[in-house]
Amino acid sequence: MSQGTSEYWRKLIRIDDPVPADYLKEFKSPLEIFRPLFYFIINLICRFYLRVKVFGLENIPQELPYIIAPNHVSALDQTMVSYALGSKRRNQMYTLAVKHFYDRFFPRIFMKIAANVMRIDSEKDFFPAIRAAVKVLKLGKMIYINPEGTRSQTGELLPFRVGVGMIAVETGVPIVPVYIHGTYQSMPTGKYFPKPSKVTVSFGEPIYMDEYIKRKQTEMAYDVYRSITDELLKRIISLKVRKENL
């Protein structure tokens, strides 16, 4: 009865709408001319101050598009992943930033220098944000999305939301699980300057959508989205366990 409900969701996120070729301009900023200088400084901080270690870069798909899905414990997280990815990849990445962070003056300036940013209001504009992410992926780019939807105040993982599963399966794009450790110890919420810490960024094997695309022909779409999100959580927990055993 309620099986194979994906069609309605696809209409809702306007999956078949054409995407204008200049759509990405919306998320570009003139401030990005400072990006090389910004990452020059970030490279120094990451190497000598935060002693960032990167694991699993070989797991990143060779070809775009894909979704980068890390845990979120600190305002440093996006920058650490960008550093880990290197300049070529990070310039292809579009980051979904929640409005309460983006709407503050200094964080916004910082984010516009550091990344291609997409502002989202998960309460009011959930579907417009999803549609924007879908368009970016359809143009063959990379999306950075926090599956928890918000920053953890305790350093522990929060429940994962199903939106990331929906975007992935409806676009057919793989998700790369990422576990970030040490940024909470360095700069938790409420702190504005990082303390020296050992930060690690671990990329896991991508979750490909073939199996889930088949499943959504016969299963309730929401259940398939939830399964993908559960699998993502499982993979991030296993990266966490691996990090703790190092």
Binding site: S2, E7, Y8, V162, M166, Y222
Partner: protein, 82 residues
Amino acid sequence: MAEIEQEIRSMVAKIIKRDEKSIEPNANIFTEYGVDSLLGVEILAGLDKKYGLDVPEQKLREIKTLNDIVRIAREQMSKKAG
């Protein structure tokens, strides 16, 4: 019409994974049964699948109870019938 009400009750119960008899018609399904807001979308998707009702997303905000869902389904059925 009572038949439609019963069909929708069964559909909602299946989606939110609860015994259909335990769903109170006026209970807020999100706050009282801990339903994820995107399951509200799945309910609209269920109406689309079962009755061919292309319910606009704005209606999502109106969904709180089983009675709301039945009312929205009836409205859309009347619209569809012209």
